[in-house]
């Protein structure tokens, strides 16, 4: 691996510019952008490569030979891969819902969907899990409907609300919103920003 090629810089590039290039790439491939995306594993691999390249360059420049401890300001991949949190269930569908979460985490959407069809009764959790299956498949309209339903049935659940907010925010993409460049609709942008802030507050709050 040529670390300079990975970061798109040359051996002559200054430290600051290498850092800038690294940050730019890390923002792009950050695992948060690929939550619920079927290509999350590829983005994670890319992120790892970028981290390694950055390490190699910085170590080389610092005159070190071994690639051991490096600057602690790296973005880490791995722990985020959009996996569902485990939670304790009770009630009629308890074991079923755990199985569904497991299937979703393994990327086995067909099985998750089949399991959900077998559930007795449809509560908020059912709609949330169904929404997540749709989300992974790229069926965003159905996902929004299911998440909205889950939020209406259980308005106090933060997991449902966060999922709906993420969906409505175009899931990050380093803050990229394709339509923003095409339309000068500032109102939407403001809404998105508000949404962002709310999200941050809520997440910090719980």
């Amino acid at each position: 691996m040529d670390p300079y090629k990975v970061l798109g810089v040359t051996p002559q590039t200054s430290d600051d510019d290498v850092k800038r290039a690294y940050r730019e790439l890390a923002r792009k491939y950050h695992p948060d952008n690929y939550i619920n995306n079927p290509l999350a594993d590829l983005a994670e691999a890319r992120m790892k490569e970028i981290n390694e390249a950055y390490d190699m360059i910085m170590n080389e420049r610092a005159g070190k030979t071994s690639s051991g401890a490096s600057g602690g300001q790296q973005y880490s991949g791995g722990q985020y891969s959009g996996s569902q949190q485990q939670r304790a269930y009770s009630g009629a569908n308890a074991s079923l819902y755990s199985q569904v979460r497991q299937a979703i985490n393994q990327g086995n959407l067909g099985m998750a969907e089949a399991l959900l069809q077998r559930a007795s009764g449809r509560d908020a959790e059912w709609f949330y899990l169904m929404g997540t299956v749709y989300y992974r498949k790229g069926w965003y309209d159905e996902a929004a409907r299911a998440y909205t339903q889950a939020c209406q049935m259980d308005p106090s659940n933060m997991e449902y609300r966060t999922a709906l907010n993420n969906l409505n925010m175009s899931g990050g993409y380093g803050g990229y919103r394709p339509m923003q460049e095409a339309s000068l609709c500032d109102f939407c942008v403001q809404l998105a920003v508000c949404n962002c802030c709310l999200n941050a507050c809520c997440n910090a709050g719980c």
């Binding site: 792009k28 491939y29 952008n33 690929y34 995306n37 079927p38 290509l39 590829l42 983005a43 890319r46 749709y134 498949k137 790229g138 069926w139 965003y140 309209d141 159905e142 929004a144 969906l167 409505n168 175009s170 899931g171 993409y173 990229y176 919103r177 394709p178 339509m179 460049e181 095409a182 339309s183």
Partner: protein, 294 residues
Amino acid sequence: MFGFIRPVKPELRVKEADRFQQVYCGLCHAIRARYGRFYTLFLSYDMTFFALVMGCGEEQTAPPCRKRCDAHPVTRRACAVPDEALELAADVSVLLTYHKFRDSLADEKGPKRALAWLLCHLGRRGYERARARLPEADREMVQSLADLQQLEREKCDSMDRAADASARLTAAAVPHTGDARERVLRQMFYHVGRWIYLLDAAQDVAEDLEQDNYNPVALRYGLRTPDLTEIRQPLERTLERSLADICMAYDLLDIGRDADLIRNIIFLGMPLVTKQVLDGTYQTNGGWGKHGSL
């Protein structure tokens, strides 16, 4: 000369605009060389984009050749030299065009149906040849089209379910190579297909309501009038998600050439067309059947 997928020309560099035209002309010549004049009449900008993306892994661009054609009989125009990606795009273009005729034959009534029958008849031989080249892709396309027609008959009111069949049809154009690149390209063209299908449905709401045709957008939101203002925001949001997925897949591709041109199309062209269709200004900005900005 139709298709939603086009670059925003004022933002292109001259060499990129030239390259786009060369690929467009090169694709037309590749289709003509393999399948005759008939299929060149249905060449779209969408397929030019497909050719660009499929070829973007190459490092080198061969210098263009100059050729005459029916549309430009006097001057020779610069054309991209046919390579693997361009030939694949030519084959896929024939398959998709033929399936479009088949779809119209199943949907339409009256004179349009007669026209679709005629086109199917004329295109049959070319299609057989393309199918022999890409048997697997064709099998997937036939299956998706059958699913789509079934959903249309059932008057399916889930936009995503109908769009899924159409998106699988587009994704089928990506050849099976079994590597990460195939996964990325399939994801990318799945969402390209979803975006085109939903945008097309949004564009046709007025016509479909008038003629009482199947329209997933109208059914999903229970529209009685062709006014899109009410549903603009949720529709834009769901389309935007597909665009974001296209971008994120694109970022994972190893790009050797045409990076800026493809970026222009994905990051500027497609959002612009989305906005125009939802505003109802698409027709006045060129629209179908016109050269538009190019």
